[in-house]
Symmetry: C2
Subunit: 352 residues, 2 copies
């Protein structure tokens, strides 16, 4: 994709397509003791993982969950059901192992990594310190981040991804940040041209009036930031409306794609990070697996706009990476089937 604007740092995302490798994977699938294509999406999933990793025998054994946390200036507009302090409180809950994502990581053998991308509170021991500031500025009044801030957040994410590639076969991204559904909805409007009324939902639980208020806040922000939105400057849009955790995740996705590390995307917020990464370099999409359809209603619009299909629909709306964690056993199962099933020849079973 040609870009008139420049990043401070180079990104080189390899092409995911490889016809020879793809044919090899399908030959193995079709040799296994089952009707052709009867394992449905598990078969296409393994094929995609093989293409991402560039190997006919992909692996997802070592799993990382990167949970990016930050606060949002737009909470001053009263867009969330929870007070801003909950972000820092939940970071402590993550570190003590009491949150949903801790239970899921322990259940499915995933290593959690808590990244402080810009929480409004003290930096606490046990987090990876990628803090850009104590929460973003309020995008109702000006850009949420400066250009320098968003670039630092992107670089932080890229560095984390390159380091992750050394120790992990697959990563997932999740997040925590009171107010971040509002930022994600704003990014959806800006990147995908969707009407604010159709890009908002209840988040973690605001009322119908609260949803209307969120739409109004976002509509006003679209007007305030119309110049950068119209410019098509993907990084500028992210600076104007995003968040520190969203930009860090977007950087992680770009960095992961550049080193062929598959990343499992969680729900609405991390999908908004994927949307931003896609706007920066659309090649990133080939290295992402969308784990689930959130009950946050705008998520379906975002996924449709990217033309991607999530694996699960369990009506989750928690974030933290919870849906991505739940998709991990599906990846494990798909790889196990592909690797360990008997072939027709081995089993002496008649083919069609």
């Amino acid at each position: 994709m040609a870009r008139w604007w420049k990043l401070r740092f180079p990104i080189e995302i390899p092409a995911v397509e490889n016809q020879e490798l793809e044919a090899e994977v399908w030959r193995r699938w079709n040799s296994l003791t089952k009707p052709p294509r009867s394992l449905g999406r598990l078969e296409s999933l393994v094929t995609r993982l093989a293409l991402m990793q560039g190997m006919a025998r992909p692996t997802v054994e070592r799993k990382l969950m990167v949970i990016c946390c930050a606060d949002h200036g737009v909470t001053a507009e009263g867009v969330s059901a929870y007070p801003r302090e909950v972000t820092a409180q939940m970071v402590l809950n993550f570190l003590r192992g009491g949150a949903a994502i801790n239970v899921l990581c322990s259940q499915f053998g995933i290593t959690p990594m808590i990244v402080d991308a810009g929480v409004d509170g003290d930096v606490v021991a046990g987090v990876v310190d990628c803090r850009i500031g104590r929460g973003t500025a309020n995008f109702a009044h000006g850009p949420a981040m400066t250009r320098a801030q968003v670039e630092r957040a992107l670089e932080n994410g890229m560095r984390l991804a390159r380091e992750a590639r050394e120790r992990f076969d697959v990563a997932a991204v999740g997040e925590m940040g009171i107010g971040n559904t509002t930022a994600a909805s704003a990014l959806l409007c800006a990147y995908a041209g969707i009407d604010p009324g159709e890009a908002v939902g209840p988040g973690t639980g605001v009322s119908a009036e609260g949803v209307a208020h969120k739409a109004k806040v976002i509509g006003d922000a679209m007007a305030r930031h119309r110049e950068v939105i119209a410019s098509g400057d993907a990084v500028g849009i992210l600076a104007a409306l995003g968040g520190f955790e969203i930009a860090t995740m977007a950087g992680f996705l770009l960095g992961a794609a550049s080193v062929r590390l598959p990343v499992v995307i969680d729900g609405f917020i991390s999908s908004a990070a994927a949307l931003a990464a896609h706007a920066i370099d659309s090649m990133v999409l080939g290295f992402l697996v969308f784990s689930h359809l959130s009950s946050e209603t705008a998520h379906r619009r975002l996924l449709n706009w990217l033309s991607v299909q999530p694996l699960l629909d369990l009506e989750l709306r928690l974030g933290e990476g919870s849906g991505a964690a739940l998709a991990m056993p599906v990846l494990d199962a798909a790889i196990a089937l592909y690797s360990r099933m008997a072939t027709f020849a081995e089993a002496g079973v008649a083919e069609e």
Copy 2:
């Protein structure tokens, strides 16, 4: 449900409803560090498991997969893409551990049990011998089973379920039987009054002409068996159009419900067993979890008719219990979250 026809054996299915227990489960869910209901279907799943087991702290630790195998007389009508011998060949593959369901059971800590309910071949060591005959009769010409045969199959399933309750917390049912999508489609037509053209699909891979031929075979069978279908005799309909493995599974579901053992249903064929069990005693439905939506198109109609929603949609059409096995980590995760997450009070997190 009042029934004019009698089974040879008593079934007593307890009521699954228990308002006090249900309220207790929801109180715990709402005390955990997450927005209310944000874990979506995982929350309702645990609530249902608690009601099934009659315990505020349900458990799914010890898991059984019952794979019922049998042959079908209707294969003489040329309704399947695979030769009939494949049923017996796949039973051997199950015993040697090379099939998809073996890989999934090993992956998710599920104990597989291979039940020979009526395979056309030698009884082989390692199967549970519940054989009624060497395949059913061809329902194109007469009833697939005699009344005595179907009752024996139902009793076999009930006995297996009562025994399973001693050693397992949750069970799943899967199957293998060349020709059994045709039997399942016929049962869907007979129990739910659905038109044959809308009740058939490609099974494990017949062509469009093959699908039309299946619909014709089933349409003719509806005419031939119209008296028993019109009578509303649930067991008589199962005898006329079902299969040994389907009847054994139906018995398993009824027996499991009677001892409060939750059962995870696999795809189209095991859902047809659930349909038959539901026709025999509709209370059984309270003890079933529908694991996935098969890509066999009639499956959606069957689930809609029962007003149940499957957990997953991975476009599987394999059977064997593969979809049910894939749902097990979702059950595990739901119970783990419910049991191990911190409460707001424990974590010092502000509530809404």
